[in-house]
Symmetry: C2
């Protein structure tokens, strides 16, 4: 994973199949630079150099470093929304679907932690229009999780006093994995996902 | 809070009582700049200007911007370790102490969120010796939380399969509050603390 931090991201880009390999290299370089030094301390020259290109070649693919951040952030949020939706719409009782949601969401943030950091900690640096798109995706994620908690509560599987706070705690636990998870972590992303799935079900008052 | 992001930090600085007001202004400016633009994109001139001083005046108090980051990070971690220790050593059964721990830890990260962001997201920018000090403080926090979980499990109050993962989840939930909590959040830091206290007790298998 360390060598390809955007492997989980790329399939979520519009038209990924027909994109030039240069765009892949640029996105990868941008993710690594933003995660390491922050958006503001990264120049387009840094990104182009890390991708083995000239700054002029970068501009063929992206108008600015903000355009790169926007694409990373939108694709990262689209990827997590997609797996949340898949889990919510899948088969089984609400508790079973919630378990799958947490397993997938947690494992994604462990695996794609470098992307996860950029996506979650550089929101303030997004241009206004890109921010609006990302804010809508975040709201969708929150709504999906809240709806599943409500469904479980109605079915008598969950006991929750504040649905919004509980939904926030569920997503927050997963997102923070991208901050602390490292190559030296003793649990695999999948193991961590399973353990977090267990903890979240209990948090929601499910009998596990 | 917005106007004094380091109010929760200052009392934890060595010799806070006798420090010049200029040091307070510099720390405050550093916290705000690092949180907004990141450590690498902030210059000592930015910090001095925001504190209403010349760069030369800054150097009377701090050798470098890394020295400012080191002091912020050490004081922030010392502050959270202190409140964790106070809760763990306080009276009552393990579940009651855990509830207090989570309430305090969560409320701190909501109130002191600007400091919390710098403290948790700029670790990689610390000079090596400062990093060692902070890593030891983080380990102490983790150990205190783990020990309390183990005590509760032994007393039959908690049901936990992996103490380390559970301890990580407890601190992670609190730390991530500094990422998402804003002035527009509908819950006060104390309300959020109470709700998170409830969620964590359930997560640990306590009967609440």
């Amino acid at each position: 994973m360390t060598s390809t931090p955007i492997a989980d991201l790329w399939p979520n880009l519009p038209g990924a199949d027909t994109r030039p390999e240069a765009a892949y290299r640029l996105l990868q370089a941008a993710v690594e630079s933003f995660a390491e030094r922050g958006f503001h301390a990264t120049t387009t020259r840094d990104i182009a150099t890390a991708a083995g290109m000239s700054p002029a070649a970068l501009y063929i693919h992206y108008q600015s470093k903000a355009a790169l951040l926007a694409e990373i952030s939108q694709a990262g949020h689209a990827a997590t929304l997609a797996l949340v939706r898949e889990a919510v719409a899948g088969g089984g009782a609400p508790a079973e679907r919630m378990r799958r949601l947490v397993e997938q969401f947690t494992a994604w943030h462990a695996r794609a932690r470098t992307v996860g950091r950029v996506v979650n900690y550089e929101l303030h640096a997004l241009p206004e229009d890109a921010y609006a798109v990302v804010a809508a995706l975040r709201l969708d994620i929150e709504r999906e999780v809240s709806a599943l908690i409500e469904e479980g509560a109605t079915a008598g599987e969950f006991q929750v006093s504040e649905v919004r706070t509980a939904a926030r705690a569920v997503t927050s636990l997963g997102i923070d994995v991208s901050r602390w998870y490292t190559d030296r972590s003793t649990e695999t992303p999948e193991e961590l996902g399973r353990r977090y799935g267990e903890l979240v079900l209990r948090m929601l008052g499910a009998r596990v």
